[in-house]
Subunit: 178 residues, 2 copies
Amino acid sequence: MKKTRFVILGLLQEEDLSGYDIKKSINIRMSFFWQESYGQIYPELSKLKEEGLIEQSLSEASGKAKIEKIKYRITPEGSQALKRWMEAENEKDTIRSEFLLKMYFATDQNSEEMKQHLTLFKEQADQKVILFQMFQQELTSKIDMHNNHRQILKVLDLGLRQAQLYSDWSRETLEELG
Amino acid sequence: MKKTRFVILGLLQEEDLSGYDIKKSINIRMSFFWQESYGQIYPELSKLKEEGLIEQSLSEASGKAKIEKIKYRITPEGSQALKRWMEAENEKDTIRSEFLLKMYFATDQNSEEMKQHLTLFKEQADQKVILFQMFQQELTSKIDMHNNHRQILKVLDLGLRQAQLYSDWSRETLEELG
DNA sequence: TGATTCATGTAACTCGTTACATGATTAG
DNA sequence: CTAATCATGTAACGAGTTACATGAATCA
């Protein structure tokens, strides 16, 4: 079952956002466990509006030269739909890592290529470590009035530790390949 | 780009397999970074055969009451195609974890449901730890004449450590939720 | 002034799952 | 004997990406 709508509703629960904002949030903060494309987000926003689960919120500063962003707000019906989904059982994860697939099939003949792939894999992991640490600090520094960030910080913590694991494992593996 | 063909070719590189065997191998050994369905595997086997990248290998023991399994063997052309893919750049990973998505959106109001989700998540991680350890022992115990298992063991090691991380993180998070 | 990013959207296409069909074999 | 598993396949559907189009705003 398609879950795009719940990602949207979940994000709108915290603040009003445009389709563009939603995509950005997912890219930056959820990249290690989720992704969505514009081709999913924009049509879904239309559907959700039609069904009354979200509504357009006033776009700020349309008087000036500023372009008006189409921001959306969650409705009570939307909140209910989100709640029902939160309670429901989870489908099994889908994961596909082309790099690990290659690693699995690699032989001693391939080791030179694999070293290159590994180096890149490590760099990506290191970048994620930095990104997650930044985002962690950003969240921790903000005064958390509603205690809303506790769970986000937990998920972020897992992402950080996973990225560190990937980085460590890559280093070790590169060393073993000589 | 669709990668089903390379999974098939990669597995056939080590030994002759049927479509059913291929599915089973992926399920058991690659579950933490890959998945394929029969609806992808069987049609792809036909295509690969047509293109000459694989060929049917003699099915053993068709004289007896045994049913004949349709096993396939990789051809030199198939090996070349596999090699070219191994050298090429990797596309970015695709990941979707409904559980982590819910965790990200969770608030203090949801904590009872989240505890349930977390418990299940932890159980699944623990099961994977056991599964990977078993498979690790199986591979290590076999005399490794061709040194083919080194890379597989490395990937398995990452899977194991990831499963352990998930399990630890779940335990910690459950404790924090009280 | 020209390139890049912001911003919203759609159409075509490919990818991937699910449900179904069929029949043999094995375990209890 | 019957339920489960083995085994191969297909058709329909749904999910998801990519390429394209458009235009405003910003940066250099």
